[in-house]
């Protein structure tokens, strides 16, 4: 089998191709998919997932996970609403909320790196804790009267296009994340840590510091997402973004990021995010019930964990045959 075909089996390429295929099919066959309003809904609804998927991809590559992101987002929104009700200026509130996100991430990071606890357990705990604090802060209120220029920015479109205004800042963040993961020593270290933490430590990589930075940045991005969410939907409630962490993790895994760490590309992860977003949009347009949508998402998550492994096994088998052709035995 020629090598170009082996390369093509890469899962992130598969996901990218699936996304393009779905878009082409939907444009042609699904009524109402191609109009500007629907496309801007699609992208606007997917942006929160995409924003958190950026740091989540780096975390999973490094062999960790953060399930508290949606709660951090909810807490940031709730605090934003509370402070706004108390009459504080929005220009002061936003930096404070971002700082809160940093603290939330730092707590996760310190629990994982200083106490050596597994991040899955730690962030399930803080998932509940941060959401609880959000409820204490805001109760069952919904704050909706944020300044109009902020609301407009978060829900407006770029000129006459279907692209949300917030899409441009997202592209900048995406570019930064791609460069950090794929072109810097920091990113290279994350792959080493995820593949073998012990070998990374023996190579002089400061494993704990890398992880602490990742958790902190994840907290920051989660709170940014929470602020965007409250403004985009013009509603700050304690239960904003509930369950978002599962969509993010599902999308990232669907994009070919290995749950065991050490493998994956940001391109794949973002393709996974938009594939999931587009699929949900199409299913809604086709009047698929909400319950059935959940089933489809669940099945996709299982496939996403299975798919890359199958793809990798195929290429490993080929590499193995190649290696067997150069060295007789191990």
């Amino acid at each position: 089998m020629p090598e170009s075909l082996t390369r093509a089996v890469r899962w992130d390429t598969v996901v990218g191709a699936l996304l393009i295929l779905l878009l082409l099919l939907s444009f042609g066959t699904v009524d109402g998919f191609g109009n500007a309003l629907n496309l801007s809904f699609l992208i606007g609804n997917t942006l929160p997932i995409a924003l958190i998927a950026l740091p989540m991809t780096l975390l999973v590559v490094a062999g960790e996970i953060d399930l508290s992101v949606a709660s951090t987002a909810g807490l940031s929104g709730a605090v934003m609403g509370k402070l706004w009700n108390d009459g504080m200026a929005i220009e002061t509130i936003i930096p404070l909320c971002l700082l809160l996100g940093v603290v939330c991430g730092l707590v996760n990071g310190l629990l994982v790196t200083r106490l050596g606890l597994p991040s899955l357990a730690v962030t399930i705990g803080t998932l509940a804790a941060y959401r609880g604090i959000a409820q204490i802060v805001l109760g069952s209120d919904a704050v909706t009267d944020f300044p109009t220029q902020y609301l407009d920015f978060a829900s407006g479109r770029l000129g006459n296009t279907f692209l949300p205004q917030a899409f441009l800042p997202f592209l900048v963040l995406l570019a930064i994340a791609v460069v950090v993961l794929h072109a810097t020593p920091f990113g290279r270290s994350l792959f080493a840590i995820g593949a073998s933490e012990e070998a990374a430590r023996f190579a002089g990589i400061r494993v704990k510091r890398h992880k602490l930075i990742l958790f902190t940045v994840t907290g920051l991005m989660a709170s940014l997402t929470g602020i965007f969410w409250a403004l985009h939907y013009a509603s700050a409630r304690y239960d904003n973004a509930t369950g978002l962490e599962l969509s993010v993790v599902a999308a990232v895994l669907l994009g070919g990021i290995d749950f065991d760490g050490g493998r994956g590309t940001l391109g794949g992860a973002i393709a996974g995010v938009f594939l999931l977003g587009a699929l949900q949009n199409v299913m809604s347009l086709l009047n698929v019930s909400a319950q059935s949508q959940i089933v489809v998402t669940g099945v996709l998550l299982v496939i996403s964990v299975l798919g890359p492994r199958v793809a990798r096994q195929i290429s490993v088998a080929r590499a193995g045959r190649r290696a067997a052709a150069s060295t007789p035995t191990s």
Partner: protein, 505 residues
Amino acid sequence: MTHPSDTGPAPVLALEDISKSFGAVRALRDVSLELFPGEVHALAGENGAGKSTLIKTLAGVHRPDAGRVLLDGRPVVFHGPGDARDAGIAVIYQEPTLFPDLSIAENIFMGRQPRRALGRIDHKATHTATLRLMKRLGVELDPDRPARGLSIADQQIVEIAKALSFDARVLIMDEPTAALTGSEVARLFGVVRTLREQGAAVLFISHRLEEIFEICQRVTTLRDGAWIASEPVEGMTEDDLVRRMVGRDLEELYPKQDVEPGQVALSVRRLTREGVFTDVSFEVRHGEIVGLAGLVGAGRTEVARAVFGIDRWDAGEVEVEGRKLTNGAPSTAMAAGLALVPEDRRAQGLVMGMSIERNIGLTGLRTTVRAGLMDRGAERDRSLDWAVKLQVKYARIADAVSTLSGGNQQKVVLAKWLATGPKVLIVDEPTRGIDVGTKAEVHRLLSQLAADGVAVLMISSDLPEILGMADRVLVMHEGRLTAEIPRAEATEETVMAAATGRAAA
């Protein structure tokens, strides 16, 4: 081929002109081998000579492309490992895989315990059957003891007992001694001799040539997949055997150059890690190779880990060229010019799924950088440069290191660290599990590095290696440095005496 005698017993297992290919490569070419009851037969050859393929063929993992396997003179075909086991062939691997929380008896009879009425397990019968097996092997192990905490040698003995419980008549031991200490090897060999006297046939693989001479009666040598010779061990010398394995006269195995030691490069003072090692002080000078000997568990690896910063120390200090190192910080140790080639190359030395290029590149993340971004060209050049200097045999530099043989993997670990231009190089078991040709290359490299002024600290359980390469030998016993022996006075006796705590050095 030489038979012990034409009137002697028939071979219990014979291979006739076995060939096996993987793709275009012929891993085995017309290999023949006869195993007689009551003999320990060595299988010798360098990495890649075809030993593993041969074992896997005998164990039913691979099916030969051509040739026959004869059991008691009758041709047999194994369709899987189960067939081989049922035929009485058992393989004992280097690292046994027992269930740690089950008892020895339960491990041996896993899945086929003697039963009483209503399918209940008959613990008493299991216990007695295990005792009987232990008695046959001439060892005393409590059948009810959990497998957790057993030494690797004892775990292997449990595996052997398990094989006997399947009525195995042919035991294949694949590098059983690689992870054992001297006394454990003696214990294992005792069991092997008992088995031999009871008429079992043992196929024995080891990279330690002296073991072949100690325990084996005959030796079959493979080279590049081809049968070279089957002959009695008696009357052979190690040089004869090495010549058969590598196909030429090996240059000296220990090419130590004389170097005048320079300034102190590494200075360790009163280093203590509670419960692990105590009050360890020594110096290594530029140009010197200092051997660190001792039994497994004496604390040698732990000292190296602490010096490099993997583990924290509780007291003492470490200096490289007069510069104090930070406790528990490998990155500052690296910056000071320290390099550690760790004991476990698969878990610690290499990221197995990563390419050769990126593994070597991992130590250059601070240097092969331009404007904060990875300079991929510089990284590739650096990796290629060192892979070539160390003569790593690979297909493409972008291949995963896991595709390389053990010896070549070790060269990648060395390349990774030499690329940092270290002033002090600590190597922990640098030649464990690698073939004799590569071993000589590694020794020549260490000698050359020392001649170039690098201070080398070499931890090794291979005594001839320590004696052959070291200018000075430090010996540890139970967490303490017990002796410092100059090259001229270092012998197996003086080193072992200090290592076992017998001598007041």
